[in-house]
């Protein structure tokens, strides 16, 4: 599993990827990272849900408006 975090100013984008990694595993890793950041006093708050962008070999496209802004 690869967790990639892109930080621009105070904005954070968290990408979780990896062969054989399920959406549930990726979502859990995201939640754990956010919880760790908050526990360390960083007061980081989610501004989107944990969006699913692919699941194994098939691409699951999320049809939420926010998806188009990444």
């Amino acid at each position: 599993m690869e967790i990639r975090v892109i930080i621009i100013g105070g904005e954070v984008q968290i990408f979780v990827d990896g062969d054989g990694v399920s959406y549930e595993q990726a979502a859990e890793a995201t939640r754990e990272l956010v919880a760790s950041l908050q526990a360390d006093g960083l007061q980081v708050n989610l501004t989107t849900g944990i969006e699913q962008h692919k699941d194994g070999a098939d691409h699951a496209h999320v049809t939420r408006q926010l998806h188009h802004s990444h």
């Binding site: 930080i7 995201t30 501004t47 692919k54 990444h70």
Partner: protein
């Protein structure tokens, strides 16, 4: 960016106030001192706040400075940090939680003071961003070795620096 870049993509943010809170008085002092020294000004002790020497150039204070912490206000406000450039008849650059304001004893020095203030404001913003990224990296380091990159990205028509942190589990 292709939308199959990852299994999950999530956005989060920290408030501007929280970012500014990373600029403690100690950090602010260090940044102010480094910047003013970089401009060629001589650092002196706080006693120089009372130095009554006068500059021959009304538009510019004498080329020395001192930095001190003001007495803190009521909790939870942080105390402001003041850099006095040029002694008693000089210019105050006052920084509190990353916000910068100036105070001139001589109106002719206003342009000079505002130029310095703008530089320091930019510096404080960049420093807060860097400190935040460092803290995120420290948190991620508990998961595994973190690979760090600094890249330029286009954000709403402007080029900005982005920090990319990667950990592989």
């Amino acid at each position: 960016m292709p939308c199959n870049a990852a299994i999950t993509i999530t956005k989060a943010a920290v408030s501007a106030d929280r970012l500014a809170g990373l600029l403690t008085p100690e950090v602010t002092s260090t940044l102010l001192t480094a910047h003013l020294e970089g401009l060629g000004l001589e650092q002196r002790t706080a006693a120089s706040f009372s130095d009554h020497a006068m500059s021959q150039d009304y538009a510019r204070p004498l080329p020395f400075f001192a930095v001190r912490q003001n007495q803190a206000g009521a909790y939870p406000r942080q105390g402001a940090t003041t850099a006095r450039i040029g002694g008693y008849y000089g210019v105050d650059i006052i920084v509190e939680a990353g916000k910068v304001r100036v105070n001139c004893t001589n109106p002719a020095q206003q342009q000079y003071a505002e130029q310095i203030a703008e530089q320091i404001s930019t510096l404080m913003g960049a420093a807060a961003d860097m400190l935040f990224a460092q803290q995120v990296e420290a948190t991620m380091a508990r998961m595994g070795a973190v690979e760090r990159q600094e890249v330029m990205v286009e954000d709403q028509g402007q080029q900005r620096t982005a920090t990319v942190l990667t950990v592989r589990l």
